[in-house]
């Protein structure tokens, strides 16, 4: 493997204390990073230090700790801005997670832009969190949700998308990478086509940011959302990038402290920029942890991470294909390192329980993507999702465990 000369996966593994743990007495084979990624020591240290050495509320006090805490918190915002190549800090809003970021846009943009008869375009590849928020606002505003179909390989059908785009379309919301089957969606092309019709686009980047460099200006995304915990950061912190031209027009999502300019009982004026959408005390330490995680992955470099993961994906796909009676769900030519599969006659839940005893952690179920499961006519799949710290031993352990399942049910 050529990339191994510059990319040392064993060194990366040593940065993650979880890999010292034994699971049921076995080596941990963690293939569930798509659900939530493990945390490197630098992030754990940053979290500890933020609580132990610099903690106070942000944007409030004039005292030393509040100032220090604010500097670190706002420093994390700058790290996120630079990482996404956003034009300004006002375009970077901290949220609880991806779900909250999408709900924010759905409720706020939706309230502003949707009228009865309008349409929202999604795709069959979406996670429930990029479906249900749109259904809620659509119902309230009398709008309709449409979904772009996919082919058997799990690819987004661009021509079908073009057919759905119309003057009724008020927003397009699609995932960058399918959480359930790994398809990388050609979002730049989708955005360009939507913009031709004057329609803004939200990209759900939850499964993309751990695997690839994202440049929101290059994509020309109107909204780009992701969650920190899949990017080796703590839970409770997510990001909404939004173009200023939209954020300035959008009404506040939640009311509270920090999002106001001046409050009287007669009339309240709102803060501008990101503050308008950040009511209440934010996840301070979690944001600092996110900034640290982003610096950590950037030190390794997404070119190397991507190459390593693609080589693992190819190896895993090849090895899993060798197993009898196994069907890989989703075979798009452009995929992130996610392999979803089913085994004839053996339910994913049984597979998950049995291979867990061998220390192999995978996700089994519908992956919060039931419309996609319905498309493939399966109730659920087994999903092995890889991250930069996985190696070939992980693939071998998965395959060995799958053979054990087959013997068990033979």
């Amino acid at each position: 493997m050529n990339d191994m000369t510059t990319f040392d996966v064993e060194k990366i593994r040593r940065d993650f204390p979880i890999f010292e743990e034994k699971i049921h007495g076995k080596r941990l084979t963690f293939l569930d990073s798509g659900a939530s990624a493990q945390k490197p020591q630098v992030v754990l240290d940053a979290v500890k230090s933020a609580y132990a050495e610099t903690y106070a509320n942000v944007h409030r006090g004039v005292h030393y700790l509040s100032q220090k805490s604010t500097e670190l918190y706002e420093g994390a915002r700058e790290t996120v801005r630079a990482h996404l190549n956003a034009e300004s800090l006002d375009e970077v809003i901290f949220t609880k997670n991806t779900t909250e970021a999408i709900n924010l846009v759905a409720q706020s943009y939706g309230l502003m832009a949707l009228k009865p008869g309008d349409e929202i375009i999604l795709s069959y590849l979406e996670h429930h969190s990029n479906i249900v928020p749109w259904q809620l606002i659509a119902e309230r505003m009398g709008a309709t949700v449409k979904a772009v179909p996919i082919n058997q390989d799990g690819e987004f059908l661009m021509e079908e998308f073009e057919k759905l785009l119309s003057e009724k379309t008020k927003i397009v919301a699609v995932t960058h990478v399918s959480n359930a089957i790994g398809t990388i969606v050609p979002v730049k092309e989708i955005i360009a086509k939507a913009h031709d019709k004057g329609v803004p686009v939200l990209i759900d980047g939850s499964q993309a940011v751990p695997h690839m460099q994202v440049d929101v200006q290059d994509l020309d995304a109107d909204f780009y959302v992701f969650t920190g915990h899949k990017l080796f950061a703590p839970t409770g912190i997510g990001v909404l990038y939004g173009k200023n031209k939209w954020l300035e027009q959008m009404p506040p999502y939640q009311g509270g402290g920090d999002m106001i300019n001046r409050v009287t009982f007669e009339k309240t004026t709102y803060a501008t920029g990101h503050s308008k959408f950040e009511a209440g005390t934010p996840p301070i330490v979690q944001a600092i942890g996110l900034g640290t995680a982003i610096n950590y992955v950037n030190e390794i470099g997404f070119d190397k991470i991507g190459a390593h993961e693609q080589s693992l994906l190819a190896y895993a796909t090849e090895e899993i294909r060798k197993l009898n009676n196994v069907r890989i769900i989703g075979d798009a030519p452009h995929k992130a390192a996610i392999v979803s599969f089913t085994m004839d006659g053996i339910h994913p839940h049984d597979i998950g329980t049995i291979i867990d005893q061998a220390g192999v952690a995978v996700r089994v179920g519908h992956h919060c993507a039931q419309p996609l499961m319905d498309f493939y006519d399966v109730p659920s799949t087994v999903r092995a999702s890889f991250a930069m710290y996985n190696n070939r031993d992980d693939v071998d352990a998965l395959v060995d465990a799958m053979q054990m399942v087959q013997r068990f049910f033979a």
Partner: protein
């Protein structure tokens, strides 16, 4: 490791999951109950005939599920056939007490041997819902609720 697995997937369980008893839809039926496991997307529908005296004279099921869920449903149908509604409800209670670590009613009698093959589920808390899904569906059917039962 294999011991826990062997106790979960006993021969009887594997047998019932591969060849479920009373599988299919009985027509006509007096009531039915549907169970949905939102965690895994599994579904089961029980078709039940209850006579005027409240006896379950026939029962069958359809659905997609894991080995635990399918075997549990298959065993359920064998066990409650010929029982009264009250007896079936009592069996549900005994079954729940057996598979959960904190029994609701410590005075309740033990589950019958036919159900004890599923006692291993207790060691796998994430799988308890797989085993109880069809019992919830049965309860819905017997209460004649059109509403959906979930294992939540």
């Amino acid at each position: 490791m294999m011991d826990d697995l062997k106790s979960l997937y006993q021969e009887v369980i594997l047998d019932h999951s591969k060849s479920p008893r009373n599988f299919g839809k009985i027509e006509p039926h007096t009531t039915e109950g549907h169970g949905d496991n939102p965690l895994c997307g599994d579904q089961v529908t029980l078709y039940v005939n209850v006579d005027d005296a409240g006896i379950i004279t026939d029962i069958s099921f359809e659905g997609k599920g894991c080995a635990i869920s399918t075997a549990s449903t298959s065993l359920l149908t064998q066990l409650v056939k010929g029982k009264s509604k009250g007896e079936a409800t009592e069996l549900f209670g005994q079954f729940q007490d057996m598979v959960t670590s904190s029994p609701e009613d410590t005075n309740r009698s033990e589950a019958p041997d036919e159900l004890k093959v599923l006692a291993g589920v207790k060691q796998f808390p994430m799988r308890v819902k797989c085993a109880t899904l069809s019992w919830h569906a049965l309860k819905a059917a017997l209460e004649n609720k059109a509403a959906l039962a979930t294992s939540e």
